[in-house]
């Protein structure tokens, strides 16, 4: 019976395993200084994950927590714009790259900071872009690994990670960060969104990652003239019920306020300007629940 894989010690000198082990070591060492890592996911696009990420980070930063935000949406980054840090140059030196710094000293790393123009897509150097699906996923994971391990995050209370819409990227992140403190799921009050987000809940649970809870974004529309909140979507099933059905905590609903999108375009986190608005209060309250879940 010839030798099996485990019978051969080492990898014959190609040293791939050794280098991957070193990469993981660098990542662990950098992340040791980050107390809580929280991923914001959905599974569904357009539900406002990035807005939620930016405003939760800002709500916590305004309570004196040291915060970092990683925009893990490599191909559709938007956090740098919402945090008002686009155009900041990154300092490289020593053992890493200094991140961009936004309001309340929130540290930000995003692919957007590296691209030259608004319209520039992420293209990786390769002999051919044909059949790029073979390696593009691996390239994106390597990018996120470098963002996590080579960014000088320093000591952070929270690192909030904004994941891209599709749930398929989440297991990669979970592998990079085995000590992920929890996952916040974002939906909107629509049956279509719930249908997709429920699958994400199952994926997170099956990976054994703690679910912090569900946020229902765009729950009603805040009229800026009369101050009343009216229906925005014809709700078939409420988020609270969905959370109950999926046996996860319901963190709260955030009403749609037109000023949220204005603030995002302006690069100023909404919660910092309108903390007393219904949506601002919701962000702060949800931030409190996340803190509570993580034992802060």
């Amino acid at each position: 019976m010839p030798k099996k894989y485990k019978d051969i010690i080492g990898d014959g000198g190609s040293n791939i395993v050794g280098q991957v082990t070193q990469q993981i070591g660098r990542l662990r060492s950098r992340m040791e200084k980050v107390k809580h890592k929280v991923a914001v996911i959905s599974g569904k696009g357009g539900v406002g994950k990035s807005v939620v990420t930016v405003n939760l980070a800002s709500a916590l930063a305004s309570q004196e927590y040291t915060m970092g935000v990683l925009d893990a949406d490599v191909n559709g980054p938007s956090v740098a714009k919402m945090m008002g840090v686009r155009g900041q140059r990154l300092k490289i030196g020593g053992n890493g790259v200094s991140p961009a710094v936004g309001f309340l000293n929130i540290k930000v790393m995003s692919m957007d900071l590296l691209l030259p123009k608004d319209e520039t897509p992420v293209v990786w150097d390769a002999p051919t872009q044909r059949d790029a699906f073979v390696w593009r996923g691996t390239m994106e994971v390597s990018t996120l690994r470098e963002f996590l391990s080579d960014t000088k995050w320093g000591e952070l209370d929270f690192l909030i990670i904004d994941l891209p819409p599709s749930i398929e990227k989440f297991p990669n992140m979970a592998q990079l960060l085995p000590d992920l403190g929890g996952v916040v799921l974002v939906t909107i009050p629509s049956e279509v969104s719930h249908l997709v987000v429920k699958k994400s809940v199952t994926t997170v649970k099956e990976l054994g990652i703690p679910v912090v809870g569900l946020i229902e974004n765009m729950v009603g529309y805040l009229c800026l003239n009369c101050g009343k909140v009216g229906d925005l979507f014809k709700t078939v099933e409420e988020g609270e019920k969905m959370a109950e059905e999926m046996d996860i905590p319901y963190l709260g609903g955030i009403p749609f306020d037109p000023r949220i999108s204005i603030a995002s375009d302006k690069g100023v986190p909404f919660v910092l300007e309108y903390s007393d608005s219904p949506a601002g209060r919701a962000f702060i309250e949800i931030g409190g629940k996340i803190k509570g879940f993580l034992g802060e």
């Binding site: 190609s14 150097d125 470098e146």
Partner: protein, 142 residues
């Protein structure tokens, strides 16, 4: 991935890796017992997959630079994206007072010019003498 010489029942050892201009990779392994050589050949997509891991076949002599993978493979990057981290420049009290006398509308420009001048020459502390030196280079009203 490991390679076994079935005849000798011995794990094979890495010899060298070569990448052709067309990005075909050839990795040679040898059996330490019978010296038989084999080569692993990959097409460009498979070569790229190995590259995407951010590893160097056969090992590295120096640790990777920060963001090495991104910086070497992202095709379109912002110009002057990365600044080399600059050491902090200290201003003496006299130098700071003198800088205060520079009209406010040109003061930030003057400060930056003097700090750049000092850095280029390896100065860590800005004194009035260094301001004089820098002042000879440019008229900034000091």
């Amino acid at each position: 991935m490991k390679y076994l010489c079935i005849e000798c029942d011995e794990g094979m050892e890495f010899v060298e890796a070569e990448v052709s201009e067309e990005e075909f990779l050839s990795v040679t392994f040898i059996c330490p017992k019978c010296q038989k050589r084999i080569a692993l050949l990959t097409n460009p997509q498979e070569t790229q997959l190995v590259r995407a891991l951010g590893v160097s076949l056969g090992g590295r002599t120096v640790p990777p630079e920060p963001f090495e993978q991104i910086r070497t493979t992202l095709v379109r990057q912002r110009e002057g994206l990365f600044l080399t981290e600059e050491k902090e420049i200290i201003w003496t009290e006299e130098a700071e007072k003198r800088l205060e006398r520079v009209p406010s509308f040109v003061r930030p420009k003057a400060k930056k010019f003097i700090e750049d001048y000092a850095r280029e020459r390896g100065y860590r502390k800005i004194t009035t003498e260094i301001m004089d030196e820098a002042g000879e280079k440019i008229e900034i009203g000091m």
